[in-house]
């Protein structure tokens, strides 16, 4: 079997591609011949086969005691010192990710067959979904950084396609564009980091360098060369790590590039589950883990990562508290949980971070799919203020959702408890740890429990409030009366139950020594990540911290119970009392608006330097200096909705208008063309003669 993986490992990657090709090119034919479900079956079958092979690969890797297996498919390019192979690396880290991607991916495919049933573009949908799995597998299995980048771009593209899947609605394409452009910013960092890395190593090793400089094994072996290198006075390792981390913030939605993820919820719900919760967004974490030897060389970069992670976790958690769209709550919770993972990465707790990647994949996928089931049951209603009491109508959805919620809240002995506590313990005690980081994580745990419980209570408990906001939805309201809320079909509930099962039990692979376990996952990953942390030692503080976080979770949950079930008047009152703060949080700290403002200002400078001081800019200056809270009403009025949504488009527009200017060079008069030629030549010659 080892031989099989070594020689034919690429089949795991190719299967989803095959599915994508079949669905992409013959989807219409299939639908005509076999009906709309055929696409789904083909796509699911491909991923399932891939999953079976992945299991085999996992067993092989587990049996080989950490020795990596490389499958060289073929030499992709050979440019002098740069030789890039299409080669796939099977080691504990990639094997674990492999199982998550194909396993959860398979469940989501099955779920999608029911969720997308009857959609016009169903074969296109499954083609994209397969393509996504393909790209993600490339990303994870890549044996060198460049191939990884290919997968990295590939998942970005698929995510773009899937967010804009229902492109008939403008807001969806806007969200897709936003995701695309924000991710571009991150990708720029990634590629810049790779470039620096390649450049330095090629130079350092000289002509004797191997040809596969960017392969991970070479990097791991030669990373120490970076130790004393500097660039522009800064440590090269730090610069590279920060550039790479910028890439990670883009893909994994961290400060400052997280803004695309909540908007990305415009896509179909299973997509949100697969891409924006379970797999793609963890690519950044995976990348940092994969290159841990690099990151551990720079204390500065580690600190930046840890602080960014902690900051994102806290910020996004507060934002999640006041969202009313069921998917948006989950989106902010995803951002927040990703922050946890980066916190772990930043304190050097590699295996803890990846452990959380795994548990989070289970419970977040379960939550998203559950939300999808609810949305389906509510006939495409996503506002939790209009839900309530669903536990009677949708018992299976409720049960799984509740279990997953408990998991994310960190209730022992569910999976979230183990992974989160491992991270919190490392944040306190790890070599790069700091009590401040722990405190941020601790606080986040409490807030997470609060908003997740709020979500659960508002959705499933109490009375049905479908008509409470009737007047906002006149167009749909009349139909809503006729529709019955009912449990979703088995294709939806079975994946939910499986995922819920894993959400509950997956934590058991990482029971820390303090609780009598042996943290098997850390041991399993140790060949790649090394032994970090303080496994095996017993520190009484660990128990204290553990208890503290459980208490925080319980307190959060309790508060939610108080606010949203027992005394629903409290939140209303609080919102009034704390008006400005409430509005601030409710509007997500106006980050989108601030980004918008930055872009707008940039646009002005670019296109109309003379108009720099026109009214808007002066207003902006006044508003900023007059401090946000008092004048925020005016800011909000000023940045009207179109302006904000279009912020990203504005960048495009400004470039466009610049292009319009350049185009005007082309007057259509041939003598002007000649005149330009003559003047330019004369100018060139004069400049030249004057400067010599």
């Amino acid at each position: 079997m080892t031989y099989f993986i070594k020689s034919y490992g690429f089949i795991i990657v190719l299967l989803p591609l095959l599915g994508a090709v079949v669905n992409g090119f013959f989807g219409k034919r299939l639908r005509e011949r076999f009906g709309g479900t055929a696409s789904g079956y083909i796509a699911s079958a491909m991923v399932f086969l891939s999953f079976l092979l992945s299991t085999a690969a996992f067993i092989v890797v587990a049996g080989s005691h950490g020795a990596a297996i490389v499958n060289h498919a073929y030499t992709w390019m050979s440019l002098g010192t740069l030789q890039v192979e299409i080669a796939f690396l099977f080691d504990p880290l990639s094997a674990m990710m492999l199982l998550i991607i194909t396993g959860i991916g398979f469940l989501i495919h099955v779920y999608s067959t029911a969720y997308m049933h009857g959609d016009q573009g169903i074969s296109r949908y499954f083609a994209y979904l397969n393509l996504f799995v393909f790209s993600m597998l490339i990303l994870v299995l890549a044996e060198n950084a460049l191939l990884m980048f290919v997968g990295w771009e590939g998942v970005g593209l698929c995510s773009y396609l899937l967010i804009g899947f229902w492109f008939q609605e403008k807001q969806n394409t806007t969200a897709a564009n936003k995701a695309f452009i924000v991710n571009r910013v991150g990708d720029f960092g990634f590629i810049a980091g790779l470039f620096l890395l390649y450049w330095f190593l090629a130079k350092a090793a000289g002509p004797s360098a191997g040809t596969s400089i960017l392969s991970f094994s070479y990097l791991a072996e030669h990373a120490h060369l970076l130790k004393d290198a500097t660039i522009f006075g800064a440590s090269l390792a730090t610069v590279i790590c920060l550039a790479l981390f910028l890439g990670a913030t883009g893909k994994s939605a961290q400060i400052p590039l997280y803004v695309w993820l909540p908007d990305a919820m415009a896509g179909p719900t299973p997509v949100s589950a697969l891409i924006h919760a379970a797999t793609m967004v963890t690519a950044g974490v995976y990348m940092v883990g994969r290159l841990n030897f690099l990151f551990s060389m720079s204390h500065t970069a580690m600190a930046v990562i840890a602080v960014t992670g902690a900051g994102t976790a806290l910020l996004a958690a507060t934002m999640g508290c006041l969202q009313n769209d069921i998917k948006k709550v989950l989106a902010y919770s995803t951002v927040s949980q990703l922050g946890y993972m980066f916190l772990a990465m930043g304190v050097g707790a590699w295996s803890a971070g990846l452990f959380h990647v795994m548990t989070h994949a289970f419970f977040k996928a379960c939550l998203f799919l559950g939300a999808g089931s609810v949305i389906l049951g509510m006939h495409h209603e996503q506002d939790i203020r209009k839900m309530g009491g669903l536990r009677k109508h949708m018992p299976r959805t409720f049960a799984t959702f509740a279990l997953a919620t408990a998991a994310i809240m960190g209730m022992p002995p569910l999976s979230g408890f183990f992974s989160k506590d491992e991270i919190l313990w490392q944040a306190w005690s790890g070599e790069h740890g700091h009590p401040g980081l722990w405190f941020a994580g601790f606080l986040t745990a409490g807030i997470t429990a609060f908003y997740m419980a709020r979500l659960l209570f508002l959705t499933f408990f109490g009375e049905t409030r479908r008509d409470a906001h009737h007047n906002h939805h006149d167009d749909h309201g009349e139909h809503a009366h006729d529709r019955v809320i009912s449990e979703s079909p088995a294709a939806i509930t079975v994946p939910l139950i499986i995922l819920a099962g894993f959400s509950a039990a997956a934590g058991l692979v990482g029971v820390p020594a303090a609780l009598g376990g042996s943290n098997r996952i850390a041991e399993f990953l140790a060949p790649v990540l090394g032994h970090h942390g303080t496994a095996g030692t017993h520190d009484p503080i660990e128990y204290v911290l553990m208890a503290a976080s459980v208490c925080a979770a319980l307190a959060g949950g309790g508060l939610a119970y108080l606010f949203y079930l027992a005394r629903p008047d409290i939140p209303v009152m609080l919102a009034e009392r704390l008006g400005p703060v409430h509005r601030l949080v409710y509007n997500k700290y106006y980050i989108d608006e601030i980004y918008g403002a930055l872009f707008v200002t940039g646009t002005k400078i670019l296109s109309r330097v003379l108009a720099l001081f026109d009214r808007h800019v002066i207003d902006l200056l006044v508003n900023v200096s007059g401090l946000a809270l008092r004048t925020q009403a005016r800011i909000a009025g000023w940045f009207d909705q179109a302006y904000v949504d279009g912020a990203v488009n504005l960048v495009a527009d400004s470039t466009l208008s610049f292009g319009e200017q350049v185009r005007k060079l082309q007057t259509g008069r041939v003598q002007v063309y000649v005149l330009v030629l003559v003047c330019m030549v004369a100018l060139g010659i004069v400049i030249r003669l004057m400067t010599v």
């Binding site: 003598q671 002007v672 005149l675 003047c679 030549v681 004369a682 100018l683 010659i685 004069v686």
Partner: protein, 170 residues
């Protein structure tokens, strides 16, 4: 500096070349411009005589004055009523101004460069007494290929121009 007869003649020919070309630029009557160009060509031909390039001078007269100038006059008369010609050669002021500035800049830099220019002086080489024979020899040895190619070029131009002008005459 002693000024001999040769120099005086040269000066006359040079003026014959350059003064008409200013008329070409500034005249508002396209016929005047064309005739002035005719004189410039003639003057250039005279300069070729000064350069002992008799064959070139004759070619210049035959091709330019006999061919190109007549072609141009032909074009003018074919496309215009004679009465209109007076106002046909308008000059665009702004373009002239800009181009004038560029031309002045070019002139200045050229004169500056000319001061330091060291041309490839090959004083020792024997220059053939009659250039016609020399040119003939060259055309049949080293420059045989261009000679053949230019015939293909003329053929292609002939064929192509015929199609286009036939279309517009019809």
């Amino acid at each position: 500096m002693e000024i001999g007869m040769r120099d005086i003649v040269f000066l006359c020919v040079a003026l014959l070349t350059t003064i008409p070309c200013l008329i070409v630029v500034f005249s508002r009557n396209v016929l005047y411009s064309a005739f002035a160009l005719f004189f410039t060509f003639l003057g250039t031909s005279g300069l070729y005589f000064f350069l002992d390039a008799e064959f070139l001078a004759i070619t210049q007269v035959v091709v330019y004055i006999g061919g190109v100038s007549v072609l141009l006059l032909f074009a003018i008369l074919l496309t215009k009523n004679v009465d209109e010609i007076r106002k046909t050669n308008m000059i665009s002021g702004p373009r002239m101004a800009l181009a004038g500035a560029a031309a002045l800049a070019l002139l200045g830099s050229f004169l500056y460069a000319l001061k330091g220019a060291r041309w490839a002086m090959n004083g020792n080489a024997a220059y053939p007494a009659t250039t016609i024979k020399g040119l003939g020899d060259l055309l049949l040895s080293k420059y045989l290929l261009p000679f053949e190619i230019v015939s293909i070029l003329l053929l292609a131009v002939l064929v192509g121009s015929l199609v286009i002008s036939r279309r517009s005459v019809q």
